[in-house]
């Protein structure tokens, strides 16, 4: 078992009313799964992903990640946990504009205190695996959207996380680029056993996953 959500609630108070963002979510994710989260806008997909990624908090319920109970952990512990095990992929890539492809890839390693020679090797390996060696000295603005997202995925993977959280990873891409990214996810999942949770609007992309979770108004349906 990689992670387990039990009766998760999240709400905001607005004008005396309690608006639920997540309502009684129960979810178990085993290692090696590829899950697609679907639902209309505002149904709580991204919120759920952020809660899983420990970037956001919840108000009620239990969350166990690798046998650690996240809801009881202090902020610092929690961030250590996600830094160690989780990689993020964003819809709008979120690469640092001022760094080259190579430097963007290197950044997570810097924070994890890898030695210079190790970093070089790992970056080189990633560039190789994603077939972007030729682009390593370019800045994000010089790449197409698909290529940027490729770098984004590579960056998420570089520190060997157990779980990849992808928030509409193909939302800004055209169909061909989308397909490439989804194929990549599938390959990572099947060949390397990386657990993936993706949020998506598209049935076609969702079909790449092994399981689909549908949300509506913060509730699992």
């Amino acid at each position: 078992m990689l992670l387990q959500l039990k009766n998760i609630f999240k709400w905001v108070n607005s004008g005396g009313q309690r608006i639920f963002l997540l309502k009684d979510i129960n979810l178990e994710v085993a290692e090696g799964e590829f899950i697609s989260v679907m639902g209309p806008s505002g149904s709580g997909k991204s919120t759920l992903l952020n809660v899983i990624g420990m970037l956001d908090t919840f108000d009620e319920g239990e969350y166990n990640f690798l046998d650690e109970s996240v809801h009881t952990l202090k902020e610092k512990h929690r961030s250590n946990l996600y830094k160690e095990y989780i990689g993020f992929v964003f819809q709008s890539y979120h690469l640092l504009d001022d760094l080259t492809v190579q430097e963007n890839l290197e950044m997570p390693l810097l924070y994890k205190k890898f030695k210079g020679s190790e970093r070089k090797a790992m970056v080189a390996d990633m560039l190789d695996r994603f077939n972007i060696v030729g682009k390593k000295d370019l800045f994000p603005a010089q790449l197409s959207g698909g290529q940027q997202q490729l770098v984004g995925v590579a960056r998420a993977l570089i520190a060997n996380p157990k779980l990849i959280l992808a928030d509409e990873p193909t939302g800004n891409l055209n169909s061909q680029q989308s397909e490439e990214i989804m194929e990549l996810f599938k390959k990572l999942n099947q060949e390397e056993g990386v657990t993936i949770i993706q949020v998506t609007h598209s049935e076609k992309n969702a079909a790449y996953g092994s399981r689909i979770i549908n949300l509506l108004d913060g509730r699992k349906v």
């Binding site: 991204s46 952020n50 990624g53 970037l55 956001d56 961030s79 830094k83 993020f88 964003f90 979120h94 690469l95 640092l96 001022d98 760094l99 430097e103 290197e106 950044m107 997570p108 810097l110 924070y111 994890k112 960056r155 520190a159």
Partner: protein, 806 residues
């Protein structure tokens, strides 16, 4: 990691060139100002510390009391030095008498030069560990000895060896060069305290004391008759290793009093030691106590320096937080890929350090570039201390403190962003950040307004004192000091010869120059005087033509005239003296002094001869052709100055062959009375302009980001029909409010400080409300101008463009 930070920082700086220029430029200006002020303060504090024994050297001063008022004086009677040496020998390593320094004519064959110097007892050289290039510290033992400065030696002897050569002093004595000393830097000035109202001059020679005695009969008399009541000599002392200034001061305070002849003890003179390190900084005495002096300016400029640097730091903070939105995404990404908060703080602090370092390098360049200009302005010889390790250590400290100060808030603020919010793009730079920025802007403009108001007040004070009636006509008035005895008894011949040239309208002699007071006497008696009243009245000894020459205004009675033989003993008083003596009808009144009875024949309006900031002292003018040191000339109006001076020089040359004409224009000498104030005015002007500039630089940057932030709002407003002026108003309103708030804080503070400053002056200007109003409005206008460029630009953007991005 470090390399990554450096890269990000560097690319960031490079990409936002405008922002970088404002940031580094502003900070560099601030650091440059701080460096200049630091160098200046260091120079001021270093005065006279280059003399080896400076901690144990003191000047002997004297407090004299009369009519409830204590005055501090430098001059002492001749026998005091011997008394200190013999009776208190254990307390002193050295006691040295010196003449008042002055211009003297030094000649070698046909070459005559006016040189500034003094006569001193032989212990002087050892006491001050005088920097000798040739000769040794016994050089002044020989009765005809003179030691000259390096530059004087060069002027007379070129590359020849001047040692043991003979020269002439004041066309009178033959002197032998026994030593050459290194030119003293400007911050080594033994006579510093004496030149409060004139430019200090560099010492060019020191001659032996015996020479002074033989050249001047009155000195000889004072020595031979042990005159305790003739105060004409300066006195310096070096205390013994095991004693302290205070204990020696306490011991000797009554020495002079004890030796005064009965009947002259009323002024109760108390002598004390004034430590060398205080000569430059703490030489203002009020009621016998040191009340500071230059040290006040040192403190004031120190504070200004810190504030200007603070302004620049505030710019940095302000701009960094304003740009937070741009950096927010980076913070979010870094946090999601694993950065800890303190790592981000470290990163931003590092960026701040980098910017500060760039700014510091730029500031050093600015300092090097403007140092000559600054030296001229401040009358200094400051060099850039390239090889001084302490300077670099202090600079390193300055860089660290500045980068900490400037970077701390942005670092803490930026690193606090929560990644989810930032990456969703929902972060709005919060209210707290905005209000913090507002506080910073208010601080900046408060300082700026205080500086501007201060400058206006200083200006007014100078103008006020300059506009004060001086009681004579400064125009075309030239003073010539009689450095030799050649003119003695030739008054009429000289006057006739000068008037014959047609360029001199009138000539007269006087004991003091028009801009100074050299004599004052006690012991005047008159009808109706309170017997307990101790008199101290300024005495001017003049020739008959003095009134015509300086063009004074008679208030009552008549001027001196050759038609009345009795005028040789008559007195003319100034109005201050009439008031001082309490005379109702002064004309015809008799005043008694040691030399007999004098009739008052006239009263003149006050002549301003001393400090333009103090009330005019009571003065008595009397005829005495033997006590005159100065020749005053009134030039004929409308002639070429150069030609006139040439003709005058020719005439003087006939009387005193070869002696260079040592003349001053009265109006120029008068201007020097304002030297401290003028210098302060110029410096405070420059600093206020820089302060405003730095503040506006920050404001400009801030306005840029505000306008960017509100692009969408402006677009919507425009679509809804807002006009450019109304948008301009919308965008500038906030800044105007901030500056008005600054004004409300600044005005009372400025009023308080300037009131304190003005209290240094008895004759002082007022501070009407509009002085402060002008300062606030002036700064406000500059600020609006700064903001308007961005405001107008933002207001004119086509709304389609600004809304399309959404």
């Amino acid at each position: 990691m470090f390399k990554n930070y450096l890269k990000i920082a560097w690319r960031n700086l490079f990409k936002n060139k405008g922002y970088t220029i404002i940031n580094i430029g502003g900070l560099a200006l601030g650091i440059a100002v701080a460096l200049f002020i630091g160098l200046w303060v260091h120079d001021e504090l270093s005065f006279n510390t280059n003399f080896k024994n400076h901690e144990r050297i003191a000047q002997v001063l004297m407090n004299k009391t009369g009519n409830g008022e204590t005055r501090t004086r430098y001059n002492h009677p001749y026998p005091l030095a011997d008394e200190l040496r013999s009776t208190y020998g254990d307390d002193f390593d050295e006691v040295v008498m010196s003449s008042f320094p002055g211009d003297n004519v030094l000649s070698l064959k046909d070459k005559h030069l006016n040189e500034y110097g003094a006569f001193m007892e032989k212990g002087f050289l050892r006491m001050f560990s005088f920097p000798m290039l040739k000769g040794n510290h016994n050089a002044l033992s020989n009765p005809n000895a003179i030691i000259i400065s390096e530059s004087t030696a060069k002027a007379f002897f070129g590359d020849e060896d001047p040692m043991e050569k003979t020269m002439q002093l004041n066309n009178d004595a033959v002197v032998t060069v026994k030593g050459v000393f290194k030119n003293l830097p400007k911050n080594a000035n033994i006579f510093d305290a004496l030149s409060a109202f004139s430019e200090p001059k560099a010492l060019q020679f020191v001659a032996s004391w015996e020479l002074y005695v033989t050249m001047n009969d009155w000195v000889k008399t004072a020595r031979d008759q042990k005159l305790w009541d003739n105060n004409s000599y300066l006195l310096y002392a070096q205390i013994a290793d095991n004693s302290s200034m205070q204990s020696v001061s306490d011991k000797i305070k009554n020495v002079l009093y004890q030796h005064l002849p009965e009947g002259t003890k009323r002024s109760n003179p108390q002598i004390f030691l004034h430590a060398m390190e205080d000569w430059h900084l703490r030489s203002t005495f009020q009621n016998g106590q040191s009340v500071g002096g230059t040290i006040q300016y040192v403190r004031m400029f120190g504070i200004i320096g810190i504030f200007v640097l603070l302004l620049a730091c505030i710019n940095f903070m302000n701009l960094s937080t304003a740009r937070a939105q741009k950096r927010a995404k980076e913070v979010g990404i870094r946090k999601t890929v694993g950065s800890r908060r303190n790592q981000l703080v470290g990163q931003f602090m590092f960026e701040s350090l980098l910017v500060t370092l760039c700014a510091f390098i730029l500031a050093c360049g600015l300092v090097l570039l403007f140092l000559p200009f600054f030296n001229q302005l401040a009358n200094k010889q400051i060099l850039f201390p390239f090889v001084n390790p302490i300077f670099w250590i202090i600079c390193a400290g300055l860089i660290l403190v500045t980068s900490l100060l400037a970077g701390s808030y942005p670092a803490v603020y930026l690193s606090s962003f929560r990644p989810v919010k930032v990456l969703k793009g929902t972060i709005r730079t919060g209210r707290s950040a905005t209000s913090f920025r507002k506080v910073l802007v208010v601080v900046q403009f408060t300082v700026s307004i205080i500086l501007v108001a201060g400058t206006v007040v200083v200006n007014r004070q100078i103008q006020h004192s300059k506009d004060r009636p001086v009681g004579y006509d400064k125009n075309g008035l030239v003073m010539v000091e009689k450095t030799t005895e050649d003119y003695q008894g030739k008054y009429n011949a000289l006057r006739d010869a000068l008037k014959e040239t047609g360029v001199v309208q009138e000539m007269a002699e006087s004991s003091s120059p028009l801009t100074e007071v050299w004599n004052s006497n006690a012991g005047y008696e008159w009808e109706g005087k309170d017997p307990d009243f101790v008199t101290n009245i300024v005495a001017f000894y003049v020739s008959h033509d003095y009134g015509n020459t300086v063009d004074w205004d008679l208030a009552q009675g008549r001027d001196f005239s050759r038609d009345f033989a009795s005028d040789s003993t008559s007195y003319i008083l100034n109005e201050a003296a009439v008031k001082y003596m309490g005379l109702e009808n002064p004309i015809g009144k008799k005043i008694r002094w040691y030399d007999g009875q004098h009739e008052v024949i006239g009263v003149v309006k006050n002549l301003l001869t001393e400090s333009p900031f103090e009330p005019i002292k009571p003065a008595i003018y009397s005829i005495n052709y033997n006590q005159t040191n100065w020749i005053n000339l009134k030039l004929v109006y409308g002639k070429s100055l150069a030609a006139s001076l040439g003709q005058i020089e020719t005439v003087f040359g006939k009387f005193s062959p070869g002696v260079p004409l040592n003349y001053q224009f009265v109006d120029a000498a008068f201007e020097k009375k304002f030297k401290t104030e003028e210098r302060m005015r110029k410096l405070s002007e420059i600093f206020s302009i820089l302060a405003i500039f730095i503040s506006c630089l920050g404001l400009f940057g801030l306005a840029t980001f505000m306008a960017e932030q509100r692009t969408k709002e402006i677009g919507i407003r425009k679509v809804l029909g807002a006009s450019v002026p109304s948008l301009f108003q919308l965008l500038s309103k906030e800044f105007v409010v901030l500056i008005i708030v600054s004004g409300l804080i600044a005005v009372p503070v400025a009023y308080h400080f300037m009131k304190q400053w003005l209290e240094n002056y008895t004759y002082r200007t007022s501070m009407p409300w509009w002085v402060f109003g002008t300062a606030v409005i002036g700064v406000l206008l500059v600020a609006i101008l700064t903001v308007s460029y961005q405001a107008i630009k933002a207001a004119k953007v086509n709304p389609i463009k600004s809304l399309r991005t959404e």
